[in-house]
Amino acid sequence: MQSNQYSVKVFETTIRDEAEFKEFFNANHTLFRDHLILIQGDMSDEIKRYLKIKKLQYLQNVNLPKGRSRKALEKEFQILETELAVTKQIAEAELKKLSNKVQNNLTVLDGMIRSGRELNIDGDLLLLNRVNSGATINTTGNLIITQVVEGAIRCHGNFMMLTASPKANIVFNGVEVDNSQLKDRLNRVELKNNEIIITPVLKKDINWAL
């Protein structure tokens, strides 16, 4: 079976006043050359003849499958667009999280951070020395400090690992962390579902079994 498929524009109307109808088509008939005129209700022979003269195709009292209006189409398109944007955002956030978690522009330092120094690190920081009282460290990424921290820490990453003295001031993603939970040899601080979770990685005292 051979077939063709095409869309046609349909102009649907009902004739109430023949004169008005004619007047409208006199003015606009060229516009409707490619349209299918659909007349719902009665139509006189006079009108049929008139449409023939104007070379307009017509049908009477037929139920054509309704297409969607331009407005509905636009609305649907908009919804699709926002959905796409949202998924894109989620994907980006997930990707950022993942890349943050693994490694993000890592800086490695092995110098004592003395009082009065302010380090601003873009990305992750691995510090192999002490942070003395009166020093400040800001990181946009994750943070690992292997020696004791007595200064101020502002970490905006996904996790940090450190050990803090009671003098230290530790702020993780805008939340001040209780120092008493950071006194073990090394503590892991991370953000999970908007909750700060602190787990000791290395306990201060190792009690060996005799």
């Binding site: 004592m112 003395r114 009082s115 009065g116 120094r117 002490r130 003395n132 009282s133 009166g134 007595e150």
Partner: protein
Amino acid sequence: MGIVIAVISGKGGVGKTTATANLGLGIALNGKKCVVVDFDIGQRNLDMILGLENRVVFDMVQVMDGDANIKQALIKSKVSPNLYFLAASQTKDKSVLKSELVEKLISDLKKDFDFVLLDSPAGIESGFEHTIEFADAAIIVVNPEVSSIRDADRAIGILDSKSAKVKNGEEVLKWLVINRIVADMVESGEMLRSNDILEILDIKLIGKIPEDKGVIDASNQGKPVVLDKKSIAGQAYARIAGRLCGQKIDMKNVEISDAGLFKKIAGMFR
């Protein structure tokens, strides 16, 4: 060519000037030529502690301005022929110091003396920066208390970034002197232990000086305590001076009090 040592602390009142006077005299008593220079322009004290108050005619600022010859301004100590003193100006303030002039003065002194000790002003202002700028080494004086340690930490940080030697890629030697240790308080845990201080500051220890009431009287009289052979602080200063002159002197643990030892022995029989 001598060595230039800045005596710094960050915090005031920890005993910089006393340490400068005593170490200067201690070095002189070891037979080395030593000059102590008061860099605390506007607030000079070193002349009083050395007992040379009435001898000051020309000061360091006049030498730098060319108003006086360096030979005229150097004051010879009454106690040791090896010790000379260069006074700070009492009428000017820190702003009169200029890097080029300080450098020239120090290099002139270096030619004639084995040791040039610079007594730094407290704080970390321009006067402090000029003191450390051309120093080969620094003696950092701290008291066993947190505020002194933090200020010293900051001063070391500036020393490590602003000294001319560091800018040339060399290292400034840093020695720690812990002053005014009270053995009883260290034992009872009220005072920081020297190991804790060393861990925080991470520099080499050159000596510990116990608290000694005689120091104040010695300063008031203008006779540095290092001259008093019976004084425990004087002995400690003498040991540090000896170490600076290259002698091998064992570190004496001044953090154990005699009373503590008695108590421990008494405790054994309880």
